[in-house]
């Protein structure tokens, strides 16, 4: 590891630390109350799910409409295990089991269906997600449509914050590795990638499975945080909610996903007060953003601390000032 890498890693770590300090200070003075923290947690959870979906849609170019199904698997795994073993160990194990289970389902589903293209894949994944939900709704051990509640909570904002940061690190590190490059190569030009000896199915499946694992993680965190799960939480609309975060942020841009998850989380807070007008406003926002930024807020580009901090001169327009 050379000096540049250390510098680079440190600056990201500092940024994360600054955000943590900011939140802590704000809670200390009651500027962020329990509601603010709830919002932060929910944003973090959506973020994890959205990064997973971005890996599938953005990085590997596979159009999946089935994210909710994988979130459901994670959520129910956590709900069932933590209810049975209400300890932190049980919780960690449940996240792990949920992620594994979701990964296995994704593998079984992915190997045949990832041959399908574009909208056909979308509809197949939608189908898988609906099948998962309907099964959950009819199984005895999942408690039918009522779902499971009074799930012990082990989730607080530092945990979700940490998990979100971890997710970003894992995904970014993977994307910037031979594996990630191969995944993106398959997206950019499948035929060319194949002609270079890249097993395209393998890399599509890797992205799909990892995306599903992250979805399950998000589901598990949410189950424990909200302390209840029910099949209605994982309908088609849930997949769409996550999809919107990804597309609005820019397909293939992790920074875009992060910024949009936060922005939409805040928008949600504001819109709670608008009653039935809420979704009308949301709809208009969606259409307008797409009309003016069809490639999403970030396109495919990433926010780069390296450029911002260590490049002198050059005017980079994607320069956000953080803070209050």
């Amino acid at each position: 590891m050379d000096k540049a890498h250390i510098k680079y890693t440190l600056s990201w770590a500092t940024l994360a630390l600054m955000i943590v300090i900011l939140i802590v200070v704000m809670t200390m003075f009651d500027i962020i109350g329990p509601y603010g923290l709830t919002t932060i947690v929910l944003i973090g959870i959506n973020l994890i799910a959205a990064i997973g979906l971005n890996l599938i849609i953005g990085m590997s170019g596979q159009f999946s409409l089935g994210h909710a199904g994988f979130m459901a698997i994670g959520a129910y795994a956590t709900a069932l295990i933590v209810t049975a073993v209400p300890t932190i160990f049980g919780f960690i194990m449940s996240l792990f089991v949920g992620a594994m289970l979701s990964g296995i389902v994704a593998l079984i589903v992915g190997i045949p269906t990832l041959r399908l293209r574009g909208d056909y894949l979308a509809i197949a994944t939608l189908g898988v997600s609906e099948i998962i939900r309907i099964l959950i709704m009819n199984f005895k051990f999942t408690h039918g449509p009522a779902g499971i509640f009074a799930i012990p909570s082990f989730v607080n904002w530092p945990l979700v914050f940490g998990m979100a940061v971890l997710t970003i690190i894992v995904v970014v590190n993977l994307v910037r590795s031979p594996t990630g490059r191969a995944i993106i190569a398959v997206r950019d030009n499948e035929i060319a990638a194949e002609s270079l000896g890249i097993n395209t199915t393998k890399y599509k499946v890797i992205a799909f499975v990892l995306g599903a694992v992250l979805a399950a993680l998000a589901g598990g965190l949410r189950a424990s945080f909200i302390q209840s799960v029910s099949p209605q939480d994982f309908t088609f609309m849930q997949s769409i909610t996550i999809l919107i975060i990804v597309v609005l942020g820019g397909i293939g841009s992790i920074s875009g996903t992060v910024v949009t998850a936060i922005a939409l989380g805040i928008l949600d807070v504001i819109l709670q007060n608008f009653g039935s007008l809420r979704m009308v406003i949301y709809a208009v926002v969606l259409i307008v953003v797409m009309l003016f930024r069809p490639q999403g807020l970030f396109g495919r580009s990433e926010f780069s601390l390296k450029k911002m901090l260590f490049d002198s001169g050059g005017n980079h327009d994607k320069d956000h000032s953080k803070g209050a």
Partner: protein, 260 residues
């Protein structure tokens, strides 16, 4: 006697009743530069696609040299063929547009190197070491082709000639035995074409590999090829040295049409 690297035996393919390639038998030897010419629609690219595995033949076989033995590869998918040493470029450039030049080359090295996702995620020293090694390899390859200056540019921002060139570099990064070039000079101006001519010669000398070339620019083909196959209506019309071909009446007719 020179070793046969690739052989196609009576290769035939039909699409919806139309026979695009009709019982074509060709052979490529070690370190040979073969030109594949013929009028538009003669089936040249289709033949490439059959050899590289994009299409499956209706009948006939393709063999490739594998540890000094010709082994059939009809059933292998393109990526497996690539791993056996077949590399190619495309008529319509197929770069990874959103990636930088060096990344395009690195991607081509994926199959040859074992990758360890866990190392990547944890960013272990080993990962940095491997990455540095790969980058260096890629850089030295780019250097041969004078592309180090643009290594960090996005592939789709390169000028057209450079994009063509990058596609060739990328194919070479898979360390192939045989390289298929599908109209590498298409869309180039005469100067770029001249540079390309030198480049192809250079590759053959420096990398000691077999090259099969589809090209319409006859100046180029004639200048670099040792042997030519002429295709017309999916069949091999003639084969021989550039001189033979240029004076072959059947070929002239195929190109310029009936004279008289």
């Amino acid at each position: 006697m020179t070793k046969t690297i690739l052989k196609a035996h009576e290769l035939r393919v039909e699409f919806g009743g139309v026979t695009a390639v009709d019982k074509v038998t060709i052979e490529a030897h070690e370190n040979e530069l073969i030109g594949l010419i013929g009028p538009n629609g003669a089936g040249k690219t289709t033949l490439f696609n059959l050899l590289t595995g994009v299409y499956k033949p209706t009948s006939g076989d393709v063999f490739i040299d594998n540890h000094d033995q010709l082994s059939p590869i009809n059933q292998l998918s393109p990526y497996k063929r690539a791993q056996l040493g077949i590399a190619r470029t495309f008529q319509n450039i197929r770069l990874f547009k959103s990636r930088t030049v060096i990344e395009n080359v690195l991607i081509a090295m994926t199959a040859a190197n074992k990758s360890y996702p866990i190392q990547a995620i944890l960013r272990t020293p080993k990962f940095y070491q491997n990455e540095a090694q790969n980058r260096q390899k890629a850089m030295s390859l780019l250097e041969i082709f004078g592309m180090t200056q643009v290594a960090d540019e996005l592939a789709n921002t390169l000028p057209y000639g450079q994009q063509r060139r990058l596609e060739i570099v990328r194919a070479l990064a898979t360390t192939p035995k045989i390289l298929f070039l599908d109209e590498p000079a298409a869309g180039m101006n005469p100067q770029e074409t001249a540079e390309l001519t030198d480049l192809i010669k250079q590759i053959q000398v420096q990398f000691k590999m077999t090259i099969v070339l589809i090209e319409h620019d006859m100046k180029l083909v004639m200048a670099v090829s040792e042997r030519l196959y002429v295709l017309e209506y999916g069949k091999v019309l003639a084969t021989g040295t550039p001189k033979d071909i240029q004076n072959n009446p059947a070929v002239i007719k195929a190109y310029l049409g009936e004279e008289g």
